[in-house]
């Protein structure tokens, strides 16, 4: 029933400990560390992944698409069967700008959601190796994957140095699901 050890998970007593832990882990060149927290702590995440989130570029692209779509739609449809209404020109920029604004927001928002899902690799309905419900409530953890069993000692030391109060191996279970051995 017990398969390979795929990594180690270290638990930290609080957000500050986790933040210090992340800094130590990054300093000791830990490979692909993953932090689990129940609350967002932006400054800790910045240490782990310094580059800023590319989600905003997707949102920007969505917004620009929205503007282009709205303007081309309104202008084209107005000219497709040109009727002067209320003495306003066929290409009436002021009201078309309102439509452009609305679609900019619409596609900008869709873009930011799509960006979030894409870059976070979601939706992903199979739980990952190290996840367990407490991590969404009040526990903080860093998961370090193991390339081979020989790395185990080094990785364990990294977690110890980082201040983990409890370290547990993460195992691949029989059914292919990954579970934490308590």
């Amino acid at each position: 029933m017990i398969g390979d050890v795929v990594g180690l998970i270290g638990y930290f007593p609080g957000p500050d400990a986790l933040r210090n832990g992340i800094e130590t882990a990054v300093r000791s060149h830990a490979v692909d560390p993953v932090a689990y927290t129940p609350i967002p702590d932006a400054s800790a995440f910045d240490t782990l992944r310094p580059s800023s989130s590319p989600v905003r570029w997707v949102a920007l692209a969505g917004g620009l698409f929205g503007i282009a779509a709205a303007l081309s739609m309104t202008i084209w449809m107005s000219w497709d069967y040109p009727v002067i209404v209320g003495g306003k020109p066929i290409t009436s920029i002021p009201p078309f700008m309102v439509a452009a604004f609305e679609l900019m927001v619409l596609f900008g928002s869709i873009g930011s959601i799509a960006g979030f899902l894409w870059f976070s690799r979601l939706p992903d309905l199979t739980p990952s190796q190290a996840y367990r419900p407490e991590l969404a409530v009040d526990q903080y953890a860093i998961f370090l994957p193991l390339g081979s069993e020989s790395e185990r000692g080094r990785v364990e030391r990294i977690l110890q140095d980082a201040g983990a109060t409890e370290i547990a191996p993460v195992l691949r279970s029989e059914r292919g699901r990954l579970e934490v051995l308590d």
Partner: protein, 467 residues
């Protein structure tokens, strides 16, 4: 558990989670009673709508020139309530207001539910609701497209966008909390919540993209709400009808929307906090802050009323003046004065701290504002139409709201209440992750303040780094 005194106790977090999730297990008589009551109201509304569809629009009190009356009033009123939810949530997020967490989730849910309620009224108002798709950019049988120069068509864009973006905003805020619910649920509920949580695990990478997406969404939603109610206001203001055509109408409508939304938030949260054991999170201090905001909005709305009356008087425009007098002292006098008392006078109570911190007062004033805002929309929509340029088209003083219209109003309130009760039962009513984050921020701040105070008093110890 703590490293340097700045970290919150794990127990606090557990407690927050339990407290917020507890209402989801509650199924007291109040909940079933409320569900039964609101369902009955929905049935009344559905029956009224059936009568109107079956016999035609004559069943409603609509007649020339007042083709826009109760239904459009309801549309504007509900959409006003809908607007303020996301607006409150997004603006408070952008301003980093500490009291956001107490209100945001309920306000966002209110938005979504109110917008579905509002969305029904243009269809009800159409009479032939099955022709609604003519509003969409779709050529009719003469290959004519919709008229994009009309604010009514812009409204379709605005309201649709608003509905979608509000849904996304609501859902995105829910993701980390729904993940908690998922982890506890069993069976089909686990599948359903699991789908909603899209596999959220609170990994740092997820958080990082999440925070960026949420900030962008808040940044987009804030101007969006302002724009949507502005477009609604332009439905009126861009026409020449006296009482409608006013340049201030856009911010005035937005302020009215925020006022009615804040009032509705209070109306909903006061019973919620009492029945669901949330007094610890939705505290009197938080109520006080919302009351202050309500007061400010009441003043802005009063300012807008007054500036309209002033410019009418100042311009010496006969048509505008008779139109106004028809409201002040004519057919719509009692609605007008009810509106004035509820929207301009009642919020003034919040100048007093005691009133802001007294739950019954808060509740009564919030109800009064809800009524006042409905009256405001009615006075603007119906009152203005009833008295424009040509005496021939002045509405007869015998205009009456018909039972069918009342029934549909009742139905809409029931629909709103029904869905809101479902929300209370099936989703976390407060943002759990955000409450925890606020606790952490507060503790870190207190820690910094204490450290400085200790240093100032001269018994400085080497302190761990804060921040």
């Amino acid at each position: 558990m703590t490293t340097n005194g700045a970290a919150p106790q794990g127990d606090v977090y557990k407690q927050v989670t339990e407290d917020v999730l507890r209402p989801m297990a509650l199924r007291g008589p109040w909940w079933y009673g409320g569900l039964a009551l609101t369902a009955t109201m929905v049935l009344i509304g559905a029956y009224s709508e059936f009568l109107q569809l079956h016999y035609g629009m004559g069943k409603a009190g609509l007649m020339h020139p007042m083709m826009w009356a109760v239904y459009i009033t309801n549309f504007v009123w509900w959409i006003g309530i809908a607007h303020s939810g996301t607006l409150i949530s997004a603006f408070l997020y952008l301003f980093r207001a500490p009291f956001r967490a107490a209100f945001s989730r309920a306000a966002e849910a209110m938005t979504l539910i109110a917008i579905t309620t509002a969305g029904m009224f243009p269809l009800i108002h159409l009479g032939r609701a099955w022709r609604a798709y003519w509003l969409l950019p779709y050529p009719n049988e003469r290959l004519l497209w919709v008229n994009f120069r009309s604010p009514l068509v812009l409204d379709v864009f605005a309201v649709t966008t608003y509905f979608i973006v509000s849904t996304l905003f609501f859902w995105l805020g829910l993701v980390p909390d729904v993940a908690v619910v998922r982890d506890r649920a069993r069976g089909w509920a686990r599948t359903a919540y699991g789908l909603a949580a899209v596999g959220w695990e609170g990994r740092d990478k997820q958080w990082k993209h999440y925070l960026m997406a949420y900030a962008i969404l808040a940044g987009l939603a804030a101007p969006l709400v302002v724009s949507v109610h502005s477009v609604v206001s332009w439905d009126f203001a861009s026409a020449l009808v006296p009482g409608w055509h006013s340049t201030i109408s856009a911010p005035f409508f937005v302020a009215g929307a925020i006022l009615s939304g804040l009032a509705m938030v209070l109306t909903l949260l006061i019973p919620m906090r009492a029945t669901m054991g949330l007094k610890q999170y939705v505290t009197i201090d938080r109520m006080d802050q919302v009351a202050k905001l309500t007061l400010v909005m009441g003043l802005v709305v009063s300012y807008s009323y007054f500036s309209e009356y002033f410019v009418t008087w100042y311009s010496k425009d006969g048509v505008e003046i008779t139109n106004l007098m028809n409201k002040v002292n004519g057919t719509f006098a009692w609605e007008f004065w009810l509106m004035t008392v509820c929207n301009c006078i009642a919020p003034l109570a919040f100048f007093f701290r005691a009133a802001r911190r007294n739950i019954p007062t808060l509740f009564i004033v919030s109800i009064l504002i809800n009524i006042g805002m409905w009256m405001e929309r009615f006075v603007i929509v119906a009152g203005s139409l009833s008295h424009d340029y040509v005496p021939y088209s002045w509405a007869p003083s015998g205009y009456h709201i018909k039972p069918v219209e009342v029934g549909i109003c009742i139905g809409s309130v029931g629909w709103f209440g029904f869905l809101f009760l479902l929300f209370c039962r099936f989703l976390p009513v407060l943002p759990i992750a955000e409450l925890k984050r606020d606790i952490l921020l507060e503790e870190r701040e207190e820690h910094a303040v204490e450290a400085s105070a200790a240093l100032r008093e001269g018994h400085a110890q080497p302190q761990p780094e804060v921040g």
